[in-house]
Amino acid sequence: MRAQARRQLAGWLFAAPWLIGFLGLTLLPLIASLALSFCSWKGLGLGTLRFVGLDNYRRLADDATALKALGNTAIYAFTAVPLGLAVALGLALLLSQKRPGIGLFRTLFYMPNVISGVATVMMWTWVFNAQFGLLNAALRAGARLLVALGVGSLTGWDPPNWLGDPAWTKPALVVMSLWGTGGAMLVFLAALQNVPEQLYEAARLDGASRWQQFRHVTLPQISPAIYFNLVMGLIGSFQVFNDAFILFGGRGGPDDSALFYVVYLYTKAFQHLEFGYASALAWVLFVIVLALTLLVVRGARRLVYYEGDQ
C-alpha cells in the first residue's frame, strides 16, 4: 500500500508541471475570460471592472463590424479549407510516387511551413503588388502571350489590385494560405503510404481505372486523414490572424474586406481596451467553431472509414 501511494505520488509529481501549466495558464484564463465576457473592463486596473450581464452579447448582435468580420471569416474558411485540402491532397498524390529525387520535392513543398510567418507575409505583399508584383507580372505576360496568339485583347484590362480592391483581398489571402499546405500534405502523404498495395492490385484485377482506384480505394482509406485535416483546417481558418494582421497593418483592408473575426477581437481588446466585449467575441467564436466541429464529427460517422469498424 505504501509502495502504491509512493508510485501515485511520483505520478502526480511528474504530471505536476503540466497540471500547473494547464490550471494556471489555460483553465484559469478560460474561466476568467468567460467571467469577463459579462463585464466591462478597460484592462488598466480592477477599479474599472463592472458587471454588465448580457450587454456584451447583445451588443455583438447589433455590431455591424463584428458581423462583417464574421462573414469575412466564414467566406475565407469555406474557400480556403476545401481548396487547401484539394491542393494538399494533389501534392501528396504527386509526392507519394517512388521517383528519384522525390525527397527533395517533399522537402521543398514542406519548407514554407518552417519559414517565419512574418517573413512570408512580407514576401507576399510584394508578390501581390498591383504594379510591380510577381503575380501580376506573370498575369500580364500570360495576357500578352494570348494577345500574340490572337486570343482576346488587352484593351481596358488590368490585372487585379490584390490588396487594394475589396473584391480581391480575400482571394489574395486564400491564395496565400495555399503556401502553407505543407502540413496537411504531410499528413496525406503518411496516410497514402499506409494504403495496402493489395487493395490496388485487387482493384486493377477487377478492371478499375485510375480514377476508380482513387475514388473507391484511396479516398476511403485516407478518409481519417481528410477528416483530421478538415477539422484542424476549420479551427485554424476561423482563427486566422497573422496573415491578415500583418498584410493590412492591423486593420481590415479596403472596406474592411479583410477584417477577420480574431483581428477584430484583438483590436477590441488591445487597442480599444474593451476586454469584456472582446471576451464575449471570443466565446461566441468558440461556440461557432464547436458547432462546426460537432457537425463535421457527425458527418464523419458516415463518411470516415476506420479499419476494424463495422
Binding site: 488598466l44 512580407m122 505583399t125 510584394w126 504594379q131 510591380f132 486593420r251
Partner: protein, 499 residues
C-alpha cells in the same frame, strides 16, 4: 544509502529549480533593498545605446541607487506596458507617449508630480510663479500641456491646481525631408528668395542644371505641388512611376496639411469631435486630388508595396517625405544626404502648421521607492547633462528648451534647426482626446481610405466622407459631435450617396 542520496539530490534539484523560477518574483513582491530601480523604454539600436549612456551618467551622480534599464523590444510598447500595469509588475519609471497617456492617468497609474515640482521650486526660491508658467518657461509649452492637466483639483480660491503627470523628455514635429542627391540631380536648390516668393523656375535645362530654387520658409501648397509634380518621373515611360515627388501617407503625415488648411478633429475641450466645414472639405479634396486627380500622382499608395516612406526615400523612390526628427538616426546610419524643409504654407491664409508629439517620463503609482524614481525623472528631464545626451543622439528635440542648441549643433548643414523653429513657432498639439485616441485615429484613417478608394464608385466626395466619419458609432458614443446638427447634415449626405 543510495536511496537517501538520490532523494537528497532530487530534493536539492527541485529546490534549486523553484528558487530559479520564483526568486525574482519574491524579490519583486517584497521590493527589498536589493531590488533595483527599474525604468523601461523602447527604441532603435541607437536609442538603446543612448539609454546605456544615460544610465551610466545617472549612476555616476547617484551611486547609491541601483538602476535597471529595461528595454522593451519590438512594437506595441503601450500594450506591453498596460499589461505590466495590470499585472502590477510595471517598472518604477516609465517612458510613455502622449497619445495614450491620459488613459493611464485616469486609471490612477501615474503619480502627480506637481507636489514634487513645487517642493523643488520652494527650495530654489521660485515658488511664486504658477506651476504651468514655471514649466513652460523651461520646457516647450506643447510638451508641458501634453502631460499636464489644467482641469486639475479645485483650489480654495476657486481656481484649479495644475497637475503634472509626466515630465517631457523629448519629442518632435513632422517636417519634410528632401533627398539631397535627387535635388542635386534634378536641379533643385534650397535658398532664400525675395519676400513673397516661394519657388522660382530657373532657366537651366538638361541633367544637373539648376531648374528650381525653393525657399521653404515662404513656399505655398501651390509651389509644393509644382515642384513635386516636376520631381515625379516615369523614366522608362512604361506607365509606372520610378520616382515620386512626395511620399506622404494618411493620418499623422496628413495632419500637418489638414491643420494648415484650418481643419481639426476635436474641439478645444478635446472631448467632442469637430470635423466639418469648408476647411475640412478642402483638406479632404486636396488629399483626394493628390491621389487620383493629379496626372502625376504626387501621393502614392500601393505603388510602394511593403516599402515604408523612409525606405522609399533612402533608396531614391521618393524625393520628399514627411517625418519627425526620429528618422534622423536611421538616415544618418544609412549615410543618406538629406535636408530638412518646412512644410509649405496654405495658398489662401498663408498659415503654416505641423503636428508635434512628445514623450514623457512618468512615475508608476506603485513605485516602491518614489523618491528614487523622482531622482531619475529629475535627472532625465531636468538635468542639462542628460538632455544634452538626448540632444546629441539627434532622435528628438530635447524636452528642455535650453538643450535645443546642442540638438542643432549636432547636424550642421542639414536644416535640423527647422525642427526647433517649428516647435517654437507654429507646431500644433495633436488632436488627442482624453480617451479614445485609437478610435479617433481609426475613424480618421478609414475616412481618408474612403476618400482615396481604389474603386471610383466607392470613393467618397469630401462632404460624403465627413458624413462617413460621423457615422462611426463606437467613436461618437465616446466622443460626440461638437455640432450635432452639422454632423447629422453630413450623415444624410453620406447616406443619400448610397456608397
Amino acid at each position: 544509502m543510495v536511496r537517501v542520496l538520490r532523494s537528497l539530490v532530487l530534493t536539492l534539484a527541485a529546490a534549486a529549480a523553484l528558487w530559479w523560477l520564483f526568486a525574482d518574483t519574491v524579490r519583486h513582491q517584497r521590493g527589498g533593498g536589493s531590488a533595483p530601480l527599474r525604468v523601461c523604454f523602447w527604441g532603435t539600436f541607437e536609442e538603446y545605446g543612448m539609454w546605456q549612456e544615460l544610465g551610466a551618467e545617472f549612476q555616476r551622480r547617484h551611486p547609491g541607487i541601483a538602476l535597471k534599464l529595461e528595454y522593451v523590444p519590438g512594437g506595441r510598447y503601450e500594450t506591453k506596458i498596460q499589461q505590466q500595469l495590470v499585472g502590477e509588475s510595471a517598472p518604477d519609471v516609465i517612458v510613455y507617449q502622449d497619445e495614450p497617456f491620459f488613459e493611464l492617468v485616469d486609471e490612477g497609474n501615474f503619480v502627480d508630480l506637481a507636489p514634487l515640482l513645487d517642493a523643488e521650486r520652494a527650495q530654489l526660491g521660485e515658488a511664486g510663479e504658477d506651476l504651468e508658467a514655471w514649466l513652460t518657461a523651461r520646457y516647450w509649452p506643447t510638451a508641458v500641456q501634453s502631460f499636464g492637466d489644467r482641469l486639475g483639483e479645485p483650489t480654495a480660491g476657486g481656481g484649479r491646481r495644475w497637475r503634472q503627470f509626466g515630465m517631457p523628455i523629448w519629442g518632435g514635429c513632422n517636417l519634410l525631408y528632401a533627398n539631397a542627391a535627387i535635388f542635386a540631380r534634378d536641379g533643385v536648390r534650397i535658398a532664400a528668395l525675395p519676400a513673397g516668393e516661394g519657388l522660382r523656375r530657373e532657366p537651366g535645362s538638361g541633367p544637373g542644371a539648376l531648374r528650381w530654387t525653393v525657399d521653404d520658409r515662404q513656399w505655398t501648397i501651390a509651389d509644393f505641388e509644382r515642384l513635386t509634380r516636376d520631381l515625379t518621373r516615369d523614366d522608362d515611360r512604361d506607365g509606372f512611376i520610378e520616382q515620386f515627388g512626395y511620399a506622404g501617407g494618411p493620418t499623422v503625415s496628413w495632419l500637418p496639411f489638414h491643420q494648415m488648411l484650418g481643419g481639426d478633429l476635436l474641439d478645444p475641450t478635446r472631448t467632442r469631435t469637430l470635423f466639418h466645414g469648408p476647411e475640412v472639405e478642402r483638406s479632404l479634396a486636396l488629399f483626394q486630388a493628390w491621389r487620383w486627380d493629379d496626372a502625376r500622382r504626387i501621393e502614392p499608395r500601393e505603388e510602394m508595396g511593403a516599402m515604408t516612406q523612409s525606405v522609399a526615400f533612402l533608396c531614391g523612390r521618393a524625393a520628399l517625405f514627411s517625418a519627425g526628427p526620429w528618422e534622423m538616426p536611421f538616415l544618418n546610419a544609412a549615410r543618406v544626404d538629406y535636408r530638412v524643409m518646412h512644410f509649405p504654407r496654405d495658398n489662401i491664409s498663408g498659415r503654416r502648421a505641423t503636428r508635434i508629439t512628445w514623450d514623457a517620463v512618468a512615475v508608476n503609482a506603485r513605485a516602491r521607492r518614489p523618491a528614487e524614481a523622482w531622482a531619475l525623472v529629475r535627472f532625465l528631464t531636468r538635468d542639462r547633462a542628460a538632455q544634452d545626451i538626448i540632444a546629441r543622439m539627434q532622435r528628438s528635440i530635447p524636452g528642455m528648451r535650453s538643450a535645443a542648441a546642442t540638438f542643432m549643433a549636432g547636424n550642421p548643414g542639414s536644416g535640423v534647426e527647422r525642427f526647433v523653429e517649428a516647435a517654437g513657432d507654429y507646431a500644433i498639439m495633436q488632436p488627442i482626446p482624453r480617451h479614445g485616441w485609437v478610435l479617433l485615429t481609426d475613424a480618421w484613417m478609414r475616412t481618408l481610405d474612403r476618400v482615396r478608394h481604389v474603386i471610383p464608385e466607392r470613393r467618397l466626395t469630401p462632404a460624403e466622407a465627413i458624413g462617413y466619419f460621423y457615422s462611426q458609432g463606437d467613436l461618437h458614443a465616446l466622443l460626440p459631435a461638437a455640432d450635432p446638427e452639422a454632423a447629422k447634415r453630413y450623415q444624410d449626405i453620406y447616406r443619400r450617396s448610397g456608397k
